[in-house]
Subunit: 153 residues, 2 copies
DNA sequence: CTAGGATATATGCAAATGCATATAACTTAC
DNA sequence: GTAAGTTATATGCATTTGCATATATCCTAG
């Protein structure tokens, strides 16, 4: 493998390892009794949206298959955390948003979770390093999205 | 949330998003017909070890629960990719290593996968950025491990 | 306005996962 | 040497996941 390709693989592996290590750490925190991490991911993503969004749109932002997400939404609706209604402008689609209970749950879980994240990240990094990491990761994300847009066009 | 905690959370979220985006990209590549990504993760981890390792040791490096890993190893043994034998020095434990077939499978899948990783990473980053990312991610990993060691002591 | 195709979501089903716990083997104190 | 405690892995069981495909709605050409 040539040097640049090797470097690319090593840096990806480092990201993968850091991610896994953090996930394990965060999974162990005593915060996931009411909602699981995956459920929280959905609630958090919805909490960032001012408007209700489509299932497909949500699916673009949550790393789950469409059927898995569809059923997870089922369960969250069942539990009164998410509201689902048919899109009036296109009856195939559904619009998803948090209920008040869902917003409350996201906030309380999110608060505790954010504390753990902050503790762990600040233990490893100073402010400048966190900013560097953010810049790099966002660059990767943006570049990926651009590539998808190019392919989709 | 104070500024430093906010920064910590934003940088973690950026890493999480970059990871998710990459995973989705890599999952879509036409490389996982013979072994799934999770299976490959196990084969790759074993391929990096010169000696057979314990299930528990493997579990420390693969993000799966112990029972899930135990069963995944079952399946890989069944398929002739992994060799499992009782540890002679401690009959509770098992020692795991790749078979020749397993090594071959890891190499061929790994080659194709590494190409995709390299293409995607080099599309987003120059060499210096990849090195920066590596430095930061490794720092996070090392700091996590140190924290675990402190807690375990 | 209708047939054929496209798109959004849901469902059937087999497989994988996690939690709790069982089993097997080691270790230590007596 | 043996009972009590500990550690390493495996199993029972309910849940979640993904793949393939069904269903429902929309769009477009004629």
């Amino acid at each position: 493998m040539p040097g640049r390709a090797r470097l690319a693989n090593e840096s990806w592996e480092s990201l993968l390892t850091a991610h896994a290590e953090m996930m394990r750490q965060l999974a162990g925190e005593d915060v996931w009794c009411e909602v699981s991490r995956t459920e929280y991911d959905v609630l958090y993503t919805l909490s960032k949206c001012r408007q209700p969004i489509r299932l497909g749109e949500l699916n673009r932002r949550v790393l789950l298959s469409q059927p898995a997400l569809s059923r997870m939404v089922d369960r969250l609706v069942e539990r009164g955390l998410v509201r689902r209604e048919t899109d009036p402008s296109d009856a195939r689609g559904v619009l998803l948003g948090l209920t008040e209970a869902g917003r409350g749950q996201q906030r309380s879980t999110g608060r505790a979770h954010a504390m753990n994240v902050a503790r762990t990240m600040t233990a490893a990094f100073d402010d400048d390093e966190m900013r560097q990491l953010m810049t790099l990761c966002r660059k990767l994300t943006v570049e990926r999205e651009a590539a998808i847009a190019r392919a989709g066009a």
